[in-house]
Symmetry: C2
């Protein structure tokens, strides 16, 4: 089946908003085995929107529209799609009640008159409840074609798609799709691709698709089969093979688990506490770790020792070390990690010191970073050379600190 | 004039990449006074790409294509556009030499044969040098229509557009465009819009366009005139008016200055040093400050006191304060800021303590945050209630800490 995306909104045409919805929907469609050949962005204009929908139906089976479902006169997506498909609007009692209830629970308790516009739905369409807003999603089927209408705000669109639209699209396909994600850290994209070149070469079903991230590569394994059970069975040995090939570099085999989730999970499992001591990353590593809910169980404190004086005062790094080897050195990274663990009484301490640029420091090149990890009184220090501008270098340093941390916990 | 964007690339159709180029180009076109009615994304497929370009030329004067200029056989944008416009390709000596020089300076010194494909340009086109890659940009004019071809990687596209394409587009317009940005912090979007409703109501030239960010609103003032001097003259009084209306809430009137740049600038100007002490934001504030190159002059250290014990041990917050008022309280924020300044010897210390969620703490609601700022021995503490999920709350807390910090430096 062929799908097509239409994003509706003047804010996209003016560049006020980056279209993250399109990437989200496209990735999900790819996963569902739907081919996408076109994505179009168009404004809240009746004539142009109608023409865009008509063109899309000529070349695609499923048209997914996002945005333009709001309560104002400008919002036209539902009205125009209903007109193009010949499905007149009428009020949906259930939706009206849901909107009433939504406002009762919100801060602004009064429903304005134009909100009732959102309770109008095309006759014969399936209404999809919106748990995070007022506009319902809509599935409109006619003459073998399907239009799916989704609200624009990502916090409404994403859960609605995952909970209701994904299963619907899976159900109308002749085959069922099932996919699993194998997440790899510590190996570059090209290395990962080389190591699975033979698998990719001969693949038909299941398929493996690599997605490169900063410091990570995610491999999506997707199978098509007559039912989910069959598809799952086909995915399983491929995931197993990938796990074997990449061994300890596989940090998760679940869609929603991040590298920081895995590291925090390991710390919890082993009942270890962690301290971070950062120089060039300036808190980026700690900020990433503290994204994880419940991190307080294992992460008690972090120190950002940006200046040499702070490294000495807060971490007792020796004056002679800084003088002889410099702040950006394996010796400094080692003392930072060791003393950080000792001073805070944490089981593990990870340290980062490096040059994010734009200028050289201590006559050392931009991108040079040392990361240390002290665990069970032993300190591992690694030297890295990262490319790119200041914030890219900082990001790479933070992700590599997570990777080293994970390695140290696993190995010892 | 009407412009249209065509983004070319399978990675966009598969959702591997978020199309940030489209938002960048759309914002620049809006600024140039070019109307955009359609943005299309299409894959590296000859037939579909040709059809998309033909459709675009029927309804627009300027078609901006990005992506698909690479050296591989898959990259078709130049070939297809040249065919559609009837401008055959021939080798450009200058570009060949530039590519040679580019490889000489790069790590992989060898030019592979397919790289010479990038030296082919449509006859009669203007070649735009790429300072960050091999593929040149191209301006193709024929029969009153213009195609602009840009490389896909943002680090190549953005500088090329700003340096060469923006002035070109400005030059082919009957009028010159000039714009300025007024950046406001500490006021909500609706409040800002209300305060300039009268200006927006009557505006024709210059115009004011608001862009809402987390904790900030940016107002772009744009004038059209016969030349830049005239346009600048028209923008000036509007910027002055906006500065008067929003007073101290205006933190910058320059495009590229961020809130953290302004805060660091103020600290440097007043020769003040800063310490950050963070709980729920877990380093996010420090990470934002240390984005700024040269921050080391004023930022020496930061403490992340996530646990109560860390608040006591590293910041000497009183046990009685934590027991009586809780970690999430104005009293704790106050002691954190005051003691943070004292212990580290910094001139200013900003503290953050709050509940990012998902769970309540101390029977206080998710989103409750206290931010303290100690300057000249006086501590200001403010209470905030933020909405949204964990990371949204942390972002709002960090930006509000920057805003409070700026206020304290300016007021005292």
């Amino acid at each position: 089946m062929i799908a097509e995306l239409i994003s509706v909104g003047t804010e996209l045409l003016l560049g006020n908003t980056v279209n993250t919805n399109a990437a989200f929907l496209a990735e999900k469609c790819a996963l569902l085995g739907l081919s996408i050949y076109y994505q179009t962005t168009v404004g809240d204009n009746e004539e142009r929107l109608a023409e865009t929908i008509q063109t899309a139906f000529k070349r695609s089976d499923v048209v997914i529209l996002s945005g333009g479902l709001g309560p104002t006169k400008d919002d036209l997506t539902k009205e125009v799609t209903a007109k193009v498909m010949g499905m007149p609007l009428k009020e949906d009692k259930h939706t009206r009640e849901r909107i009433e209830a939504y406002f009762k629970n919100s801060r602004s308790k009064t429903v304005t008159e134009n909100n009732w516009k959102q309770a109008l739905v095309p006759e014969g369409s399936k209404v999809v409840d919106n748990k995070n807003g007022t506009a319902p999603g809509l599935i409109m089927e006619k003459n073998g074609k399907v239009a799916i209408l989704l609200p624009g705000p990502p916090n409404e669109l994403i859960p609605m798609f995952n909970n209701d639209i994904f299963p619907y699209l899976n159900s109308i396909q002749p085959e069922t799709i099932y996919s699993a994600m194998v997440k790899i850290c510590g190996l570059g994209e090209s290395l990962v691709e080389t190591q699975i070149a033979d698998l990719i070469e001969k693949q038909t079903n299941p398929t493996i698709a690599p997605y490169a991230k900063v410091g990570e590569v995610h491999l999506r394994v997707t199978a098509k089969a007559k039912d989910e059970k069959e598809a799952k069975k086909m995915v399983k040995p491929v995931v197993k093979e990938l796990k074997e090939r990449f061994g300890k570099n596989v940090y998760a085999a679940e869609e929603n688990v991040t590298l920081e989730d895995t590291v925090i999970g390991l710390l919890k499992e082993k009942e270890l506490t962690l301290t971070t001591v950062e120089s060039c990353t300036g808190g980026l590593l700690a900020a990433r770790l503290t994204k994880v809910p419940g991190v307080s169980e294992v992460f008690k404190q972090g120190l950002i020792t940006y200046s040499n004086k702070a490294k000495r005062k807060l971490l007792d790094v020796k004056k002679s070390t800084l003088k002889e080897y410099g702040a950006i050195s394996d010796k400094t990274a080692k003392e930072m990690a060791k003393n950080g663990a000792f001073i805070t009484g944490a089981d593990i301490c990870v340290s980062i010191t490096g040059i994010a640029g734009p200028d050289e420091v201590e006559e050392k090149p931009v991108g040079l970073v040392y990361i240390g990890c002290c665990y069970k009184n032993e300190v591992t220090v690694k030297e890295y050379h990262f490319n790119g501008e200041r914030n890219k270098i900082r990001e790479w340093a933070a992700v590599n600190a997570l990777i080293l941390l994970r390695e140290c916990i696993l190995e010892k």
